[in-house]
Symmetry: C2
DNA sequence: ACATATTTTTAGATTAATCTAAATTTTTGA
DNA sequence: TCAAAAATTTAGATTAATCTAAAAATATGT
């Protein structure tokens, strides 16, 4: 049985692998987990000992098959609990991450599956992130950002790259939400801001915003 | 912020207080938590330091006001999660304790309250135990056992004293459940077994069974 | 009452996860 | 290429929670 700490290291390694490609080094892990590099070295030696990661001194790490399976299962639990909190307990999407960080570590052979069925097998969490199935299969984002849309083309908002509370609250205040169809009306070369239009409004958003919204072109 | 271990000690002390009156000593705590008495001594010194328990060397412990508040809050969370698991995820009443042992430690200022509302403010958990309100008020069992009923009197089963899986499964197999009205038909002096009748059957049960069923006389 | 049994505490060790400071290895760029 | 910078590992310490063994205090029973 893995400790919560070990599970968090595996999850961190998995998520760094998704965003930073294959260069997963000590510093990146320590930054993600807010620990010191020396602590990371200790832990990765332990995880390597348990055959959950490959590790060569000074060369960084990568997940083994079984390490990846566990990491994805934690992600699965995290996202299903987030759906529960938003859909059933009426939390807002900016409030659920910390609770899900705890709930993802609940140990049970059957709980995730029951939860998933109770939630009617959702495919995405409240932030648009895909929910892995019980075998660890996970549909990856196509990674089309709103910032990359041409003028006069439209897209449906399907996810956020940054799920910080502050960004999510900004979106709430800007009346932009998942499922919105957004059309790009104009682009400003000077600062790469864009003028967009959804059902409710026409407004200008900075590149920092448009580069953190995943869309599906239509 | 208390550790899970500290919370478990407070809960154990609370529950020993409920069943064994006010004599809460090191050995009882160690037995409840499956630790050694020396470990208990260490922890109770720590909890006393934090003013969560009163402790005098060699004299046992008792909860302070704030310690009791915390203990009851853990009990509240435990029982509400059990209701969730049974009522929403369709678990049987003998399957939920271990999961609730973990879920009771999830930290959030708002989660229990939201959960309680989602469950429609249940008053009892799946084993008939009362659920404390948000202020820590808790309706105590009247502690009438089925074994104490007179011949020809009846009672409604409102709880179990023993919530072990084996006892709960025994009740399932015996077609006895919470809410059943049970009439005592006869008593056997030799072994204190009793003949009972509910909607489905007439059957004999041993004193070990009848002394573990709480009833409300009617 | 007091010797013996039981309970509780103390002393010292262990394990997991972390840290700081120092040593080592790798990377960078003049 | 090779010295300086950066990253990584090692050494040694700390904290929480546990344990075993021994010492001290309390309880028990004749
Ligand atoms: Mn999250
Ligand atoms: Mn999410
Ligand atoms: Mn329980
Ligand atoms: Mn219960």
């Amino acid at each position: 049985m893995l400790s919560q700490t070990e599970e968090n290291y595996l999850k961190a390694i998995y998520s760094i692998g998704i965003s930073n490609g294959k260069n997963i080094n000590t510093t990146l892990i320590s930054r993600k987990l807010k620990t010191k590099p020396s602590s990371v070295t200790d832990m990765i030696r332990k995880l390597a000992e348990k055959d959950l990661i490959y590790y060569e001194k000074y060369k960084g790490v990568s997940l083994t098959q079984s390490g990846k399976k566990i990491a994805i299962d934690i992600v699965r639990k995290h996202r299903l609990w987030e759906v529960f909190l938003v859909n059933k307990l009426n939390y807002n999407w900016d409030e659920v991450h910390e609770m899900a960080e705890q709930l993802e570590h609940i140990k049970s052979d059957t709980l995730v599956g029951r939860l998933e069925a109770f939630l009617d097998f959702p495919k995405h969490d409240p932030h648009g992130d895909p929910i892995p199935d019980e075998n660890g299969n996970i549909a990856q984002h196509k990674n089309v950002m709103l910032s990359s849309l041409e003028i006069n083309s439209s897209g449906v908002v399907i996810g956020v790259k940054d799920s910080s509370s502050s960004f999510l609250q900004f979106l709430d205040n800007s009346n932009i939400k998942l499922g919105d169809t957004i059309k790009v009306i104009a682009k400003e070369d000077y600062d790469n801001s864009i003028l967009i239009e959804n059902k409710l409004q026409t407004k200008s958003i900075s590149q920092q915003i448009s580069a953190n919204l995943f869309v599906k072109k239509i």
